[in-house]
Amino acid sequence: MSLLELSGVRICYGNAVAVKALDLHVDEGEFVALIGHNGVGKSSTVKAIAGVVKPTSGSIKFEGNDILGQQAGAILRRGIAVVPEGRRIFTRLTVGENLTVGGTVRSDRGEVKKSSAEMMERFPVLGKYADRMAGLLSGGEQQQLAIARALMSKPRLLLLDEPSLGLAPQIVEQVFDLLEELRKQGSSILLVEQNAAQAIRAADRYYLMRTGGVIESEAAGGDQAKADQVESAYLHFGKA
């Protein structure tokens, strides 16, 4: 059984169809990338999984349970945490406070502090700036904080929406290294990215989306040639 399974998901905004029919699955411990251009329905897919928009048809199952139509809070409690596009950290809370509010849905309140300390060990830069306003961190540090904040809810699946957006190439490398590290530690990840080459290199599998549906799905697993090939084909779409 897959951890997350989407079948025939269709998302419409009024008459506009954002996603026609999407099939996708993420297995336990797997790192899956969903790549595609702007406007192909990637973010709508993230929103549908997270419970922010409701698909018009299809099914979304998490650990075998139908989660379609459930509230965002309920889905988070089931174990899907989202790292939103644009990081969206709380700039006027300290790094430490950002982490503790990340544990809001946890029932083991006493453990939240411990988890926060663990996060600071895992992400040393967050430990270093624990008492600093989060808005003073650099873009890459903020992205680490956004990921750490999502991990604070102890998710079974981490859903990342364009984590490389607006970051310098070098910082993007760091973010991808971090994701690979998380995968090695056993996290299940669904990464939604425009940065196709890097996403394909890092992920176990990828789905390539084009206006409303998946057109290609393959195992990637660090295959440089494949990544380059898809990227050039993919870039070609953009020019077409």
Binding site: F90, D131, L136
Partner: protein, 352 residues
């Protein structure tokens, strides 16, 4: 690795750095034995309680409320009704409706009256808050303003209970400079505690980015409701103290003008920080004092300017200037603790 500063130490620093200077200045003022100065200081301290009350909700949630004075009014009238000596009540409230007749038969000491009135107001705040916290922006502003108008109309028209436009008299005048100081220290401690603990941080998170807050499972209505009830209760505390300070008051005392005065203090000080609430009251009160002196007798080389309304006009201009030049207020929405930390050499890194 640097460990996170404990919640308690952050609370102690924030509350201490704000309260200690206020305590010192109040002591110095009390030593002057200048009755009029002491009176003004007392008024400023009571206003500070109300402004801090407003900050607890509006500052932390980013949702402006025009309703806090309504809660101050409810508490002032409630406390008056139960603390006016029982023997005076029948002549003051000859038309008291039957279902409230029990109010005439007893009287409680002022501190008890204040406590009861705050608790009663908190219940009303909870009931009104349930629908109000679902509103944001302009709708929330209008909703809270509407509540203020409703309370004003009820208090003005329900003559049998509130004495309507004739003032409430016979209210024990017990609030002193020391009571007001104690109240300020208490509410600074409460507001600072709220801000550094889980509940307050969640409310601040909803102010910073509501969608991100929802994405990590924060319930915006629930967090706002907590802040709202705490805020209204503190405003009620200020209102009850004010009632027992001026001793004669009517619905006009808790007017829309007072509402705007309180909001102006918070905005000038800096919406979003407790320090802003405290600084705003001090700056506006000192400025108002100077302007009033100019209006009545002149200060040093400045001759008397016989222009009634000068104070209000200049304050309004300053509010405008602050809104234009420094929308985040004098403190920029920062807490005093962040300046102290910077002074200690831990300069913040420039964000990229």
């Amino acid at each position: 690795m640097k460990s996170s500063v404990s919640t308690w130490s952050r609370w102690a620093w924030l509350a201490g750095l704000l309260a200690v200077p206020i305590i010192i200045v109040t002591f110095l003022i009390s030593l002057t034995n200048d009755v009029s100065l002491i009176q003004r200081c007392t008024t400023a301290l009571i206003l500070m309680v109300m402004v801090i009350g407003l900050h607890v909700f509006s500052g932390n949630s980013g949702v402006v409320s025009f309703g806090s004075v309504a809660f101050a009014m409810i508490a002032a009238f409630t406390s008056a009704l139960i603390t006016i000596p029982a023997d005076k009540k029948p002549s003051l409230f000859p038309d008291m409706p039957d279902f409230l007749n029990w109010l005439l038969s007893f009287t409680v000491p002022v501190p008890v009256g204040i406590l009861i009135s705050v608790a009663f107001t908190a219940v009303i705040a909870l009931l009104v808050g349930v629908p109000l916290v679902r509103l944001s922006g302009l709708a929330a502003g209008i909703g809270t303003l509407a509540f203020l108008v409703v309370v004003q109309v009820v208090v003005t028209k329900w003559k049998a209970v509130t004495r309507g436009e004739s003032t409430m008299v016979g209210v024990p005048k017990e609030t002193t400079l020391w009571w007001a100081l104690g109240a300020v220290v208490l509410v600074i401690a409460i507001a600072a505690l709220y801000q550094v603990t889980r509940r307050g941080r969640r409310l601040i998170a909803t102010r910073e980015d509501d969608k991100a807050a929802m994405s990590i499972g924060i319930s915006i209505p629930i967090e706002r409701l907590w802040g709202w009830v705490a805020s209204c209760s503190i405003a009620a505390f200020g209102g009850a103290l004010y009632g027992h300070y001026i001793a004669t008051f009517s619905a006009q005392t808790f007017s829309i003008a007072l509402t705007f005065f309180i909001i102006a203090m918070l905005v000038i000080g800096g919406l979003g920080s407790l320090t802003g609430a405290v600084v705003g009251v001090i700056v506006v009160q000192v400025l108002a004092e100077v302007l009033r002196t100019v209006e009545t007798q002149g200060i040093g080389p400045i001759p008397q300017i016989d222009a009634p309304g000068l104070t209000e006009m200049v304050l309004a201009l300053i509010l405008l200037l602050v809104l234009i030049a420094r929308p985040a207020g004098i403190t920029g929405g920062r807490e005093i603790t962040s300046w102290v930390r910077r002074r200690k050499g831990n300069a913040p890194q420039v964000a990229s």
